[in-house]
């Protein structure tokens, strides 16, 4: 819950609610991107960006290489599997 997991923003799904679809290790999930949006920046510019995703929120932009390395370590720690399980088993999906 605290380590988060890297995800790639693939689509903007809701402009007003600042929601985007991210791809996390092959799993798709809607997340809120309000935290990583710079002032005046259009949401669409986030497409293709990587970010650390914490409990449904994109919290910090990272580069692709970082993302891959981080994911490797999270898989080793068992955290990535935990996160993905938590997403899949969530009582309801946004």
């Amino acid at each position: 819950m605290c380590l988060g997991i890297p995800g790639k923003i693939v689509e903007i799904t809701d402009e007003t609610r600042k929601l985007a679809m991210v791809e996390i290790s092959g799993v798709r999930r809607q997340v809120n991107v309000a935290c990583i949006l710079k002032e005046g920046e259009p949401l669409s510019s986030l497409i293709g960006e990587w970010s650390l995703i914490h409990v449904g929120f994109a919290m910090s932009r990272i580069n692709e290489e970082e993302a891959a390395e981080t994911l490797k370590v999270l898989i080793m720690l068992g955290e990535a599997q935990e996160e993905i399980r938590a997403m899949r088993e969530s009582a309801v999906q946004l």
Partner: protein, 383 residues
């Protein structure tokens, strides 16, 4: 070096270990008078155990596993409040999976669920809000816990609920803040910390400025660290270098993720929705001033504490449980009398055994055999 081949870059790992040996020797620390570095964050604890770093470091460096696992510091009284809210017939009580198994005085949320309460695990508070949209005739409560890493997600969810006018959603806010906790550790009479491995993802939100007092007032270094084992080793090198130079500064080893100034958008949302509590009760650490947040009065209609008039009862931990001492670094997990036989991840007595980030559970999982041997040694020494 048994685990070295698991490191992303074994060559670099070896070089870092060698550098740590060299620097540690320069500090004059010994096995009897070691340097104590505290990792504040449970994520670091998990990495340290998973990669066996403790065993690979020179024995003049001791790692103290701090209070940074939010699930582990949840007092029983709060779990009891959760169960009570969840038992309301029209309530759907939601929370992160990690919080489901924490024991309260009358059992955990998982136990309440098996007895018929509507308790549901969600991945995100946004999912809880979605449940509220889909179930307009029921009240959805989200149990928000965690440090500044998860706090923004609760704040943004409340702002969203307000913007959409979703009235059947509320937050049972039990978020905690890191700074007063570190301060309490520094002020504790048995304090023996020489430096901090600073929390990575909390810092991603709050930035580095809030830590300055640690260097200025307490003359201790803190290095914000990433979660990879190589990050942690690099951080230990940076701490040792500061100690040798006689410096106490706040440095950032994790700049690829943590901007020096934190995240303004997240901080803005926090300031809007939350205010500091006068004090907050922690499992094992007691009551710490200003260490928790509650919702501002403007958001009272989304505040489960007000909606359900929770009791906030103080419930003492079981007598034999030594979570507090472990949290403060006074004893090691395996020195707790309950460790292993009575208290284990299947049947946690204390919260440090619940989450994989809790130091007892980490010891149990990754150092079980070794810690059993240490326990026998300690018993022999004590007799």
């Amino acid at each position: 070096m048994k685990y070295a081949d698991e490191f992303r870059d074994p060559v670099l790992a070896k070089a870092l270990f060698a550098r740590i040996e060299e620097l540690a020797a320069k500090t004059g620390a010994t096995k009897k008078k070691p340097l104590n570095f505290m990792e504040v964050c449970g994520g670091h604890t998990h990495s340290i155990f998973r990669y066996g770093l403790e065993n690979l470091l020179p024995d003049c460096i001791d790692l103290i596993h701090g209070p940074g696992c939010p699930v582990c510091v949840l007092p029983m009284g709060i779990v009891d409040d959760c169960v009570e809210i969840a038992q309301n017939p029209n309530v759907i009580f939601t929370t992160y999976g990690d919080a489901m198994r924490v024991p309260g005085s009358k059992g955990s949320l998982l136990a309440a669920k098996s007895e018929g309460a509507d308790v549901r695990m969600v991945y995100s508070p946004l999912d809880a809000l979605e449940l509220a949209r889909r179930n307009p005739d029921e009240e959805v409560v989200f149990f928000g816990l965690g440090f500044e890493t998860t706090m923004p997600s609760s704040a943004f969810t409340i702002l969203e609920a307000e913007a959409e006018g979703i009235e059947n959603f509320s937050l049972f806010c039990n978020h905690i803040t890191i700074i007063p906790t570190i301060k309490a550790i520094l002020d504790s009479p048995d304090m023996r910390i020489d430096g901090f491995i600073g929390p990575g993802h909390v810092s991603m939100v709050i930035g580095q400025a809030p830590y300055e007092f640690i260097a200025e007032r307490y003359n201790r270094p803190l290095v914000v660290a990433g979660f990879e084992p190589l990050d942690i080793l690099q951080t230990i090198v940076m701490l040792l270098e500061q100690i040798i130079d006689g410096r106490a500064e706040i440095e950032n080893q994790y700049s690829r993720v943590v901007p020096d100034g934190g995240n303004d958008n997240a901080l803005g949302a926090l300031a809007k929705v939350f205010e500091l509590r006068e004090f907050f009760e922690w499992r094992g650490l007691g009551s710490l001033d200003h260490s928790g947040v509650r919702m501002r009065p403007e958001y009272a209609s989304f505040d489960a504490e007000i909606k359900y008039k929770t009791q906030n009862l103080k419930i003492a931990d079981p007598k034999s449980c030594q979570c507090g001492e472990v949290l403060k670094g006074v004893i090691k997990p395996w020195e707790c009398k309950l460790f292993g036989d009575v208290c284990n991840p299947e049947n946690p007595v204390g919260a440090l055994m619940v989450s994989s980030e809790g130091s007892c559970s980490a010891y149990y999982q990754y150092a079980g055999v070794r810690s059993k041997a240490l326990r026998v040694e300690a018993k022999i020494a004590a007799s």
